[in-house]
């Protein structure tokens, strides 16, 4: 099997922000891949949905508010941002609580989307 030149990449975000650096470094990779013209799509599942919360104020724990950068993803041609419906519900969250517009998917839909990617990286 030969990899296609512009293969699609999924970045799956599973952890809450600040407690671990995963979210910030996943976003760094998304921006890098976006600036290299890759077809990259972001997925937020489990505690990863907390990364997208609006009105974060991590300055009080001396952390950088990287969630501000999510609004800039569109300038990197990263237009597909998917969030797990069950993960939101389990945390009493709704799409209106998030800082950007996302596509909310069921578990089945998530599996279908993920199966179409050439590469899946997980953070």
């Amino acid at each position: 099997m030969k990899a296609s030149r512009h293969s699609s990449i999924a970045l799956v975000n599973k952890t809450a922000p600040y407690g671990q650096a995963n979210g910030q470094e996943s976003l760094d990779l998304a921006l890098a891949a976006g600036s290299f013209g890759q077809d990259i799509r972001l997925y937020f599942i489990e505690d990863g949905v907390f990364q997208l919360l609006a009105k974060q104020s991590p300055a009080c724990i001396d952390a950088k508010n990287f969630s501000k950068t999510f609004a800039a993803l569109t300038f990197y041609d990263i237009e597909h941002i998917y969030v797990c419906r069950d993960s939101l519900k389990a945390r009493s969250l709704e799409p209106k609580n998030l800082c950007i517009e996302v596509e909310v998917l069921s578990k089945n839909e998530l599996q279908q989307h993920l199966s179409q990617h050439q590469h899946i990286l997980s953070f």
């Binding site: 990899a3 512009h6 470094e25 990779l29």
Partner: protein, 129 residues
Amino acid sequence: MASFSLLITKAAFDQQDAYSAYRFAVSALKLQHGIQGVFFYQAGVHNSNAFQTGHSDELNLHQKWVTLAKTHDIPLLVCVTAANRRGIINQQDALDLDIKHFNLSAPFTEVGLGELVELLNTSDRVLQF
């Protein structure tokens, strides 16, 4: 024959992940597959720290990577931002920042995330450990 690249996001010693990646590389090469490159990101950059000086009867994964890279001519690519955040620094950056010591040297090289994107584009499979 397939071409693989490895993405290492876990530190050496603390977790088994990076060692599993090393074992995968050795096995794949034995079966005539290619390893295009090994990319160290997040805590994975600790693999590149040359100051790993554990007990002599314990595994030194840094040394294993060095030998593997030299034997099979495999690029060991370390994300410079992730590395600098974690106290991994090469000679030039140490000089520029007036820091006395450095702990990253060949065959490990400091690169940008674009190199990981390149590996994603040119490998049949990228495995994350």
